[in-house]
Structure formats: structure tokens, C-alpha cells
Subunit: 272 residues, 2 copies
């Protein structure tokens, strides 16, 4: 697995809504990461697979709802996703993609129209940016946001529930929080089951196979202070690990941190 | 502060409802602790104060809702609490009381009718037994219950919000839980704000002034395993500590573990 493209500090500019981000990405004017780019709008992880693998992947998502909460699935060959954006074109509307061949990263283009085919099915999976916005709005500091870094992510010894060729470890994101904030974060993220929901673990990284918090498998390390706890959430990078493990002949995903920005509002996904 | 009366193992017998427990206590037939004694029925901490102190104490509870969630307050001199039980007599219906004089424990009688007066006001405060029942029903093991012990309680360096003469440390109860159970326990106990609600802390006892988990200030120590976290809830013993600190001339409380059992159902206090 190659290292993630380093994220620059959060962009100075903001977009008014999800559509504005997509149009800017489509035109090539916007090629930055999307953290905080359009406050209030849902961002999503992207997986595109040929139809012959898509059915298995759909079952994989159904069986692993915490790392793979599905926000939308396209018709085969259809590059639109009207549930997430009126004019959305999945081939052009993300600022950066990853192309996978036989489970290996092949390229990171800024559009995938040249690779499109009639049998491709798009999956959009909920992203922690939604619950991070709710945490920040509640006054809970997030160190990776303050540092302008991508969140630290780790492969765990927790296995996903396999489906066909798709299997692999649960990948988690980690945010260091003071104990009272960790408790509040459980409450807040429990409101968002469509975007990974409550944490899966906290406090004992070794219990889920994480040997060294300073060496994440994806993203950037952040320090955990002596009076903090590492808090772990199921992560939308899990399907990328499953695609790599499955060695599917061809797949497209977003580049980590360069997400699909939709017309849906974060608040629409709060259940309480 | 004297040591708590040791709790025997949970009683073999159960009562059908709260009224049956109260009648048995009233007649002197039941003098055991009340943990698990009438499943489904709300139990409460008791504080009885002379009217001249009661107004300040009521403000103390209002300002400290996590340790002192009020379930009912009586009229001065009235030993009934119809909101909690049709025939309830607060002078006789608990299996054991504590009598405090000038902030010191004076005696632990099984009824307080001989001490009753026209100016006494009774306060019933929510008790963790309500949320413990919900945790156990969810399959979360509670070590002190398995051990037949009273829960471990600690004075912290978190100060309560004072009101008049009432002040003192927040007292917390501690339950060791595995990380995934700790997360679930935050979710479950958040449903019960009237009985202490979500934890106030987890994972770093030293951060709230607890030096040695093996030496609780009240109740019995239980071991915390290497793969567990100590999880801390605000505790209804907090008002007893405030009464001791205030050195009120006269007060009556329940004896820890020997609670008022009411006609209300635990489920009535779940908000979600």
C-alpha cells in the first residue's frame, strides 16, 4: 500500500455548497483535499468496480456497516448518482482518484472519464468528515484538524466479515481525546450510524493489534498526550484494503482525503 | 467517614415489586442491602434535612445534576412521597439508615420514626442501580455485581458547585469495562440522565485525583484487568460527602447500598 498523498494545510478557501466543489473539480480548477471545504455538506468515500465484482462488494458493505456505511450505489455504467447530487458526474467530480489494477495502485488521476465503461458500478460510503464537523461544533478539539493533517489510520487485527473475494482487516481512524471529550464523542458520533457511528475501541491500541501509534498505516501520526485516550472509529479506508486484498483486476477509488462532496447535508444523517 | 457496612452477597430472594420491599423493611423482616432486590423498580438515595438546610440543599442538587439527580422532594414534615410510592413512609421503608450529627455519623438504625420532626424534608436522588440493570440487560458484565460487592467509589479532585453551606468533592463510582463495553456503556447510560447519565471520566484515574484504584473511599475494590478501562460515573454518595463537609447539625440518609425501592419503573427514566 503506497503512502497517502500528503495533505497540505486546510485550504484557505471554502465553497458555498457541494455542487460548487464538484464543478470546480470537474473543470480542473480544484485539485486539493476536501477537508472542511464545504461546511455542512456530506462527503463520501468512493469505490467503483466492474459489475462482476460489484455484487460481492455490495454484500461486503452490507455485512460490514460500521466501516462501509453505504450512502448510494449507482446503476451499472451510469456515472450519475442523483440521490447525492442533481448533476453529479462521478467520473470528474472528485479532485483526485486512485486507479487499482490487480490490487496494486496504478495511478492517481484527477478524472477517470478515459477509464469509464458500461459495466462500472459506483459505491459512495459515509465519511468521518460528517461526524468530525459535529465534534468540532460541540467544541471538541481534533488534533489532526488543528495540525492540518490527514487523520491517522491503522490496520487492526479485527477481521471484516468476508463476502466472496472481499475480506481483510478493519481499518480504523484514531483521534486522541481527553476522557470527558471521549465520552462526549461517543454520544455525538452515536447519532451518525450512516457515517461510521460510535467508536469501535478506545484506550488499549494493543488489544486491536496496533503496536505503535506513531506509525499509522495511512495518514499522518499525531501525538497522544499523557492525559488523553486514543479513540478509534471504523474507517472508510477499510474497503480500499479489501480491494487490495481481493486483487480485483480493476477498481477506482477516491484518493484518501480527496472525497466526493455531495448535496446532502450532514444534519440529514443525524438520527437523534 | 466511616467504612460502609459490608454488603453480603446479593440476596437469594427477590421481591415482586417496590412496595413489597418497603413493606418488608417497614415490618423489620428485611434488613439486607437492596442490590437486585426488585428487578425493574427504581431505587433511590435518600437525604433528609431540617427545613433550614433543605432550601440550600435543593439548590445544591439543582447545580449538580449529575451526582444529585432529584427524583422527588417532600413537603416539610410529610413522611410520604406519593410520586414514588402510593403508601410510602420514608421513616420506615428503607432497610437501613444513617443518622448524622454535626457532619459525623452517629448511628445506623433500621427506622427513623423516633427521630422524625415537623420540619424534616426528604430528598430522593437517582441511583446507579437503574442504569446497571440496563447494562446487565445488554450483556455488559459488571464485576462488583459478579463479586456480590458494593461498587467501588472514590472522592475526586472535581469540585461540586457549592450552594450555601453545601460543597465538597464529586464522588464517583467505578466499573472496569473492556473498551467496546465502555463505549456501549456510554451509549446506554446516556439514556438515563435522571440516574447520573453518561460517565464523567474514563481511563485516567490520576486526572481526577484518584491515586490508587485498589483503595476506594467507599464500597469495595475490584480488580481492573490489563485490557480494561476504569469507567467513572457521578455517584449519589456525593451529597453524603457534602453533608459531612457542611457539618449540618442533623441529617438522615440511607446506608450505602440500602436504598429506597420505589413503585417507579427503571424504563420510565429512559429518554431514548
Amino acid at each position: 500500500m503506497p503512502a497517502t498523498i500528503p495533505l497540505k494545510r486546510p485550504p484557505e478557501r471554502f465553497f458555498h455548497d457541494g455542487q460548487a466543489v464538484r464543478l470546480a473539480a470537474r473543470s480542473g480548477r480544484f485539485v486539493e483535499h476536501t477537508s472542511g471545504i464545504a461546511p455542512g455538506y456530506v462527503q463520501g468515500n468512493l469505490v467503483i468496480l466492474p459489475r462482476e465484482a460489484a455484487d460481492e462488494f455490495l454484500r461486503f458493505c452490507q455485512r460490514n456497516p460500521k466501516p462501509c456505511p453505504l450512502l448510494a450505489v449507482s446503476e451499472p455504467g451510469d456515472p450519475t448518482l442523483p440521490a447525492l447530487g442533481a448533476d453529479l458526474d462521478i467520473r470528474t467530480d472528485l479532485p483526485r482518484y486512485r486507479v487499482w489494477r490487480d490490487g496494486e495502485l496504478a495511478e492517481e488521476p484527477v478524472s477517470v472519464g478515459h477509464l469509464w465503461g458500461d459495466d462500472l458500478v459506483s459505491f459512495v460510503i459515509g465519511c468521518s468528515f460528517t461526524f468530525e464537523e459535529a465534534l468540532l461544533a460541540d467544541g471538541i478539539p481534533l488534533r489532526h484538524v488543528a495540525c492540518g493533517e490527514n487523520v491517522a489510520m491503522y490496520r487492526t487485527t479485527i477481521a471484516t466479515e468476508p463476502a466472496g473475494r472481499f475480506h481483510g482487516p478493519l481499518v480504523v481512524s484514531m483521534r486522541p481525546l481527553r476522557p470527558a471529550d471521549a465520552i462526549r464523542a461517543v454520544q455525538i458520533t452515536s447519532r451518525y450510524p450512516a457515517v461510521h457511528g460510535a467508536p469501535v475501541h478506545l484506550g488499549h491500541p494493543d488489544a486491536i493489534g496496533i503496536v505503535d501509534l506513531a506509525r499509522p498505516d495511512y495518514g499522518a501520526a499525531v501525538p497522544v498526550a499523557a492525559d488523553e485516550l486514543p479513540v478509534f472509529w471504523a474507517c472508510g479506508v477499510t474497503p480500499q484494503a479489501a480491494i487490495a486484498a481481493a486483487r480485483v483486476p480493476f477498481a477506482i477509488t477516491h484518493a484518501p482525503g480527496y472525497m466526493l462532496v455531495t448535496d446532502r447535508r450532514n444534519r440529514d444523517y443525524a438520527i437523534l
